[in-house]
């Protein structure tokens, strides 16, 4: 009979292998799905994983999807490590786009490039502010951050709809809910001529290093990690829980806001209700698949972008619905979580060893005692 036995030390090998195994299993299911839908599985897989990498244009599309996913995921790595479940990054992303657009629509022919910086900053601050609401309600009223941040996503969507249908609507836009197209001065500079790739990806990669250093080389990062792993130990050490809460959420909100700002002033070039593409949610998967590690998140963001583009390609070339992407994303996360069990547990054959439950209970010896034999 199969049994799961907890490991004494988490297996580092499995920790790295687990996302790869999950990916492999997802691919297997993908193949089966393609066959079931009557499509050539090899063609389907190549849509997702080969086509986007074959051309410069494909790579540039990859980069403009990777940048926002990675930026948001970096913030989520920090939050999840602190045991703060900022599920509403999508809302902070939207606010970032709104903030940047608010500045961008004021550009005139004579505006300098500095306006872009202002717009990006504004977007970052708006994202931060949206996250600050979550932080405040959690800090002051102990309101669960998952539900609050999620509700704020719906509110953000309504806010977006309001600004593009009302005060910021393009008067020449045939009454569509959208703003004017932004002038070149406030567009993110291009990276490669003739493609949509912009410097956003460079910014994101730079921030990968910054966040890594923060998490693993600073005391502040250490404090966040301890707070996320053992709140009582953090209290004993004197690490402020409130301070950790604000730091993580504001950082996450800022990064998501920045991503939104870059999206609005970058590939999209205007603010519409179609701007939010679910990157805030996709980034959750990126963060997990990347093991909550900035470098892992980079690889995972590329993978996720492949899935997004693949979805678009299979829609145009194979006639499959674009939402196939989300099926694969969800599946990947599920399989990752299942595989992760083997990081902390070992598979064993044999009779189950029923054991007396161990403490805590009243008058229990502290964990780490030698009470009895296993």
């Amino acid at each position: 009979m199969l049994r799961l036995e907890p490991r004494v030390e988490a297996s580092r090998a499995m920790s790295v292998a687990s996302p790869l195994i999950a990916l492999l299993l997802t691919l297997v299911i993908a193949v089966l799905l393609f066959v079931a839908l009557g499509k050539d599985p090899l063609q389907g897989l190549s849509m997702f994983f080969v086509e986007p990498l074959k051309s410069t244009r494909g790579l540039s599309e990859l980069s403009i999807k990777t940048a926002p996913l990675l930026l948001i995921a970096l913030g989520l790595c920090v939050c999840f490590r602190s045991n703060l479940w900022n599920i509403g990054a999508e809302g902070q992303f939207i606010l970032g786009a709104i903030g940047a657009s608010g500045v961008a629509i004021r550009a005139t022919e004579s505006s300098s490039g500095a306006l872009l910086i202002v717009a990006s900053l504004c977007g970052t601050l708006c994202g931060m502010a949206w996250a600050a609401v979550v932080a405040y309600l959690r800090s002051r009223y102990n309101a669960n951050e998952i539900l609050v941040s999620l509700m704020l996503v719906y509110v953000a969507e309504q806010l977006l709809s309001y600004v593009v249908s009302g005060p910021w609507k393009d008067p020449q836009g045939y009454n569509f809910p959208q703003t004017v197209t932004f002038l070149d001065a406030v567009r993110v500079p291009q990276l490669i001529e003739g493609t949509r790739a912009n410097v956003g990806i460079l910014l994101a990669l730079g921030l990968v290093v910054v966040v890594w250093v923060f998490l693993f080389r600073t005391h502040a990062g250490y404090r966040l990690e301890v707070g996320g792993l053992s709140p009582l130990a953090a209290r004993y050490a004197g690490f402020s829980q409130k301070s950790a809460l604000w730091t993580a959420l504001l950082l996450s909100g800022a990064l998501a806001g920045l991503a939104g700002a870059l999206e609005a002033t970058g590939p999209v070039g205007q603010l519409t209700t179609h701007l939010p593409l679910g990157y805030g949610f996709g980034a959750i998967i990126v963060a997990f698949v990347g093991r909550l590690n900035p470098f892992g998140a980079t690889l995972a963001a590329v993978l996720m972008s492949l899935l997004y583009i693949g979805g678009e390609m299979s829609q145009s070339r194979l006639g499959l619905p674009k939402s196939l992407t989300y099926v694969f994303q969800g599946l990947l996360l599920f399989l990752l979580l299942a595989c992760d069990t083997f990081t902390t547990h070992r598979l064993r054959f044999g009779k189950p060893r029923v054991a007396l439950r161990s403490p805590p209970g009243q008058a229990a010896p502290p964990p780490g005692s030698e009470e009895g034999v296993p």
Binding site: L152, Y162, P321, G330, L333
Partner: protein, 308 residues
């Protein structure tokens, strides 16, 4: 607003609150056993599309609702196996379920986006529904609405009077102690999660088959999340869940009514009202953390290791 309009508003609130109530009752059973299922939204979406598709193909509302229940139960079983037997993180797994459910329902629902279900039956209680004011207010509901009320009563009795309900509460408080006493904790938890999933499924199918009989991607629009908040708001008591759900229904109906009245507020603000109300509710209930802790199933969200 005259009495008749009030009665209709009241009835509409009950109608609107019913799917939230059903989902929240399901989540309540879930959480009483100590398992937190953040995948409620995904479950409801998949059940909604399943129910709708079944209705389109079989023209039977009953089968459609049943299909929704089955879809919810199956997904919940999958979730339960991961979380209870493989001990995966309950938060992450629930989120994965929500994300997957959103994507999967969107994918499967594409061919049904423009379908309609034809004339919907108007359910009325014979005789009683003809009563002035009270008729439209209380006696013209879909059977599922009455079922929800009955379920709420049944759950109250179950949790506080029946031995098996006591066992469930015990498991939610201290699975280790229940295990030491010889109860099959994991098996009972799986049953509770499946029951919860089945009810979420019923709620989802109700929305797409009865309430607004069509399929739109993402049509659950956060009701699953609101149901999660509601369970906590109601301190895990069935009667309070019902009340809270109807209040939410009321808020939703109120904002639609205000929109209809041409009130000088942006539509988007009114649409955002239920979500803002949820945040308010969360703030109100969470303020006193000691009170929450003394009412919450103590082991909620924590993994259980029988052999540890």
């Amino acid at each position: 607003m005259n009495l008749n309009e009030l009665a209709l508003l009241f009835a509409a609130s009950i109608n609107s609150g019913t799917p939230i109530a059903l989902a929240a009752l399901g989540l309540l059973i879930n959480e009483r056993s100590g398992v937190l299922n953040l995948g409620a939204e995904g479950l409801m979406l998949v059940a909604a599309v399943t129910g709708f598709a079944t209705a389109v193909h079989t023209h039977s509302d009953f089968l459609a609702l049943l299909a929704g229940v089955a879809a919810g139960a199956v997904l919940a079983l999958f979730f339960a196996l991961l979380v209870i037997y493989l001990n995966t993180n309950q938060y992450a797994t629930g989120l994965a379920l929500s994300l997957f459910g959103a994507g999967f329902s969107a994918f499967v629902g594409v061919p049904y986006a423009s379908e309609s279900l034809g004339e919907r039956t108007q359910f009325t209680l014979p005789g009683l529904s003809k009563l002035p004011v009270l008729g439209p207010a209380l006696f013209s509901f879909h059977p599922l609405v009455y079922l929800t009320v009955l379920l709420s009563l049944a759950f109250s009795w179950f949790l506080f009077r029946a031995r098996s309900g006591l066992v469930l509460r015990a498991i939610g408080e201290s699975p280790e102690s229940a295990h030491a006493l010889g109860y099959p904790v994991r098996r009972i938890r799986v049953s509770a999660v499946m029951a919860g999933g089945a009810l979420c499924g019923l709620a989802g199918a109700y929305v797409s088959v009865v309430y607004t009989p069509l399929w739109i991607e993402g049509m659950i629009a956060g009701k699953g999340w609101i149901a999660l908040a509601l369970t906590a708001f109601a301190t895990w008591r069935p009667a309070r869940v019902l009340l809270g759900a109807y209040l939410f229904g009321g808020v939703t109906m109120l904002q639609l009514h205000l929109q209809g009245q041409g009130v000088n507020l942006p539509i988007q603000l009114l649409t955002a009202l239920p979500y803002l109300a949820t945040i308010l509710v969360l703030v109100l209930i969470s303020r006193n953390s000691a009170w929450i802790r003394s009412n919450m199933p103590a082991a909620l969200g924590k993994p259980f290791h029988p052999g540890a």
